[in-house]
Every structure is written in C-alpha cells, then in structure tokens.
C-alpha cells in the first residue's frame, strides 16, 4: 500500500497492511469472508439509494426500504454497516437497542464496528491521496475464535468496555481515554482498530509536520462534520 507515496511513514504503511490482512480474518465472531463483505458493504454505501435517501431525510428513521447489494451478511448487520458508513452522527441508543433485539450480539456488533471503521480509515486515506482503494483481500480460512473479554465493564456506553485503572497522563487526559476502551469487549476488535489508528495521531508530542494544535484543528473539524459528541 502507498508504494508511490514516500512521505507516509513506514509505520503507517505497515499498520495498514497488517490491518488489511487481519480483516481477511477469521475474526472472533465472523469468518474472513464475512469480514470482507463488511468492507464491501461499507464501500457500496455511496451508491445505495436507500442509504442516500436516509442520509438526506429529516430523521434517519423516517425512510424504510431495502438496501442495494447482496452480501453474505444478514440485513441487520448490513443496516449497521450502512448507517455507520453514511450517517454516524445520527445513530441513537434506541436504534442500537433494536439492532441487538434483532439478533446481533453486542460482541458481534463491536466486531462489525471495528472492521467497518478500520476500512474507512484505510479507504479514506487512499481516496484522499488520489489512489485507488486497495483490492479486497482474499479471505483466510478458519472459524471465528469466539474470544470475548468477560471482564469488560459498563460505564454508560452502549456496549461494555475495557476495564482500566483511572490514571491521568501528562497531557491532562486519562492515560487510557474512554474512546480507547470502547471496543474492549472484543480484544481483537480493539487491536484491529487502534493498531490502524495509532500511527496517525497522538494526544501529545505528535510525530508529524503538523503542530499539535494544527492536528487538533483537523481532528476537531472532522469531528464537527461527523456530528461526533466525543
């Protein structure tokens, strides 16, 4: 990946290649084939009429219909993927509760979130650099490992999160902020996402041509455009 882009660090390139291989799975609750389908369903969001209509509706729950595309995933999972991909700022707890009631277990949900958001980082960087999106990987054989973190705790998020001692870092924020705990119900999901994210940004002493405040301006503008509260 990024072979022609010399100004991207080797660390980032390696992290993205690792993530792409890991997406090819198997994961803990989905096969490699299913995880690759999650990436495909994410990419197809821009061309799906229902997804586009929903995004433009006054409420994302005002429009019903069927998503375009045929995937090795049930419609509940496709709904999760399309909404996270296209309209993340309007997800609600009521919607999440319905997703769980419709049969997606919280640990499965966490794995879907991890695969989709990891692929969004990789695809966004490729597209923004004027590169073609990477080819979908070939699925690795094997069954899901079914490993979840039974010590994950409730802190008011929609899903149980990683339990860590409360410690403050030099920059004044927690050593492990809540966002870094959010996918902690499934350790491999947490690792997949943050293994990809980490070479992009750090809360202090950022290794970049951007100063810390420039990086935070960019981060904050993305946050605002995605209507993200955190």
């Amino acid at each position: 990946m990024y072979q022609k882009i010399a100004l991207i660090t080797e660390k980032l390139k390696t992290a993205h290649e690792d993530a792409w291989n890991k997406i090819a799975g198997p994961g803990d609750f989905f096969s490699g084939e299913e995880r690759i389908e999650m990436v495909r369903a994410t990419r197809d969001a821009d061309d799906c009429e229902l997804t586009i209509t929903r995004k433009n509706a006054i409420s994302p729950f005002a429009v019903t219909g069927e998503y375009a595309g045929d995937y090795l995933l049930d419609s509940n999972a496709v709904d999760v993927i399309r909404r996270i991909a296209s309209d993340p700022g309007r997800l609600t707890k009521t919607w999440f509760a319905q997703v769980i009631a419709n049969g997606l277990a919280p640990e499965e949900y966490v794995e879907v979130v991890s695969v989709v958001t990891t692929s969004i980082i990789i695809d966004t960087l490729h597209q923004a650099l004027g590169l073609a999106q990477p080819l979908l990987p070939k699925a690795n054989e094997g069954s899901p490992r079914k490993v979840l973190n039974s010590e994950a705790i409730e802190i008011g998020a929609w899903v149980p999160v990683l339990d860590v001692p409360s410690q403050t870092a030099d920059h004044g924020l927690p050593k492990v902020p809540n966002i870094a705990r959010s996918l902690g119900l499934v350790p491999s999901a947490l690792q997949l996402f943050f293994g990809t994210f980490s070479p992009h940004y750090s809360l202090s002493n950022i290794q970049s041509s951007l100063s810390q405040d420039q990086a935070e301006f960019v981060a904050s503008r993305v946050s605002a455009m995605n209507e993200c509260f955190y």
Binding site: P88, G89, I121, P174, L210, M225, C228
Partner: protein, 122 residues
C-alpha cells in the same frame, strides 16, 4: 474538544466556534489550507481535492498536506467508533468543557439530544 484542551495546555486562545462552522478562523497556522483539505476529504470531493492538494503543496508543503490527510482519515474512523458505541466523555473532560460545549454547539451532538431529535420516527 481536542483543540480546546490544546489551548488549555499552551495558554493560547482559539476561536472554537470556527471549528463547528464552515467559516471563521480558529487561530491555527495555515488554517485555510488545513480546513479546505479536511472538508474536501469529508465531503468526498476527490476531484477538487486533487488540485487543492497540488496548490496547497506549493504553499504549505507536500508533507503538511499529506499529514493533514493522515489525521483527517484517522478521525473519519474514530468519530464513527465513538458514535457507534455511545462512548461517554471522560470525567474531567465532561466537567471542564461544559460551557465550551454549550457555546460551540457541540452539546447538541450529545447522545440524548440526538435521540430526542431523531427517534420520533423510530
């Protein structure tokens, strides 16, 4: 909120309202280009981004353009993790940013307020 915390550390004051709107000036160096590149990435305007990248590279340098995309792409993922998991603010951040969230409109992105706005059709 990250920029607000950066200001707390350095003592520099930023116009945080400018972060939540498509115009205005927050007070960061090269802000025009950082904003433009970020917004074109987020709106997926790849064609315009392509020539903006070239123009910006001549003015602020190619490394800075690429590093802007590196940060923007990462936050395009992590904001979705936050929104999809309903992760609450860290305790101190919640305490120390109450007024700022109100002033800048970030409070309206709160999960409860979103539910009130959007769940009426659900």
């Amino acid at each position: 909120m990250l920029l607000s915390l950066s200001g707390d550390k350095t003592g520099k004051k930023y116009n945080l309202n400018a972060v939540n709107t498509p115009s205005g000036h927050a007070g960061v160096e090269d802000e025009h280009w950082l904003r433009l590149i970020t917004e074109l990435t987020m709106t997926k305007d790849w064609e315009k981004l392509s020539y903006t990248r070239e123009e910006a590279s001549r003015i602020i340098g190619e490394q800075k353009v690429i590093d802007t995309l590196v940060v923007a792409s990462a936050f395009n993922g992590i904001t979705r993790v936050a929104d999809a998991t309903g992760i609450p603010l860290d305790t101190d951040t919640e305490k120390n940013t109450t007024q700022m969230r109100k002033d800048t409109g970030i409070q309206s992105f709160n999960y409860d307020e979103k539910s009130t706005r959007y769940d009426v059709f659900n």
